[in-house]
Amino acid sequence: MFDDRSPIYHQIAEAIKNDILSGALGADEQVMSTNQYAAYYRINPATAAKGFQQLVDEGVLYKRRGIGMFVSPDARDMLLSQRRERFFADVVEPMIAEARVIGIPLDDVVARIQTLKGRESA
């Protein structure tokens, strides 16, 4: 589940964000408690709590005192717009860099995108 490439709490936050984006976790749905999460994934509860706190700070989750943590109603929209903003920097620009490195003309890339676009609208 987790690897050593980034802090564990960061990976926990990302995993929950992915669940919200995919729809596995819906708006106002309760998420696992940090303790349940810690026991399930065999990690220290303080580490799990740090990941959840990050999501609360970002407004992705909200707390209800004595009950637990829930998905913010606008979390999915917020995450979608964040991912959309990052899309060009994270996906498109590396693709163009790679195309340059291996000698694929950008016109070929554009042509391929046009083909895929044509198929989609067909």
Partner: protein
């Protein structure tokens, strides 16, 4: 209830060797601590002193503000299970050991003890002398956890246990810590297996404190730098290199030391990827000396 520990300028000398060398350490308590050190680094000596198995002669140890040696109030609250399994006496039976623990341990949970015996498949009526090495360890762990001591220390307690039993131990430890928070110190050299259980890590080497930090911060003290070989080489010039790997034109170099935001910006600019390092790698680096 949890117990904090304060250690100041602790020194222990054996003939010809300094086992603990001017060690100062403060653990606030209520956490799972990993105590890491190579064989002979002083882990067992340190834990034995905290558990009042031995008298402090130089420096001081305070547990919950008091010296633990010959302090009955404290010793009831402290449980140390050593890998030698000395909590487990050969002339006794499993049942007998539970009975003695129940009498001495004010927070003892008998139901939990029996659940652990089932988990580790330990027969209640068996004599301790007839248990395997792994079963003796499992019995030590059973006593250690069921004591629910506010300060629980497990020193390489898994010796001889196979991987499924060890993972069962980690799971039950975490589950019980969540339900009954207390100060737990685990000494181990199987770092990868348990690194994620630790909130804080203490590394000692040759009796000295080498590092004490929360696990994630410690991991952030090192970084793996990955990218085009030439750029990685340029970037890591002058840094403490722990190791390197090369695959075609891509290189991964593991470095130790803080990488400041400016350097991080440079790395991003050069198309280099920075990521934290496995605790095991840092441990090996911080404790490698020129001894056999």
């Amino acid at each position: 209830m949890t117990l904090g520990i304060e250690i100041e300028n602790l020194t222990v000398r054996y003939p010809g060797v300094t086992a603990i060398d001017d060690l100062t350490l403060k653990l606030e308590g209520g956490k799972i601590y990993g105590l890491l050190g190579r064989n002979g680094s002083g882990k067992t000596t340190l834990l034995s002193l905290i558990a009042a198995f031995r008298r402090v002669t130089e420096g001081a140890i305070l547990v919950d503000g008091e010296a633990p040696f010959e302090n009955e109030r404290l010793t009831q609250q402290i449980c140390l299970v050593r890998e030698s399994g000395d909590i487990v006496v050969d002339g006794d039976s499993v049942k007998g050991i539970l009975r003695r623990s129940r009498r001495f341990r004010p927070h003892w949970d008998d139901e939990f003890a029996h659940r652990l015996l089932d988990l580790f498949q330990l027969p209640l009526n068996r004599g301790v002398a007839k248990l395997s090495r792994g079963q003796k360890s499992a019995l030590g762990i059973t006593v250690g956890l069921a004591s629910r001591a506010p300060l629980t220390m497990l020193d390489e307690a898994y010796l001889g246990m196979d991987a499924p039993s060890r993972y069962a131990f980690y799971d039950v430890l975490l589950e019980d810590y969540i339900e009954n928070p207390r100060t737990i110190i685990l000494s181990t050299h199987l770092i990868e297996e348990v690194a994620r259980l630790f909130e804080e890590v203490v590394i000692i080497d040759r009796g000295r404190l080498v590092a004490h930090d929360d696990t994630e911060s410690l991991r952030m003290r090192g970084a793996a730098v990955v990218g085009p070989a030439a750029a990685v080489d340029d970037f890591t010039t002058g840094m403490t290199v722990l190791g390197e790997q090369r695959l075609g034109g891509t290189k991964s170099v593991t470095v130790y030391g803080e990488i400041d935001p400016d350097a991080r910006a440079v790395a991003a600019d050069w198309g280099l990827e920075l990521s934290p390092v496995a605790l095991q790698d840092l441990f090996v680096h911080l404790t490698k000396g020129d001894r056999a």
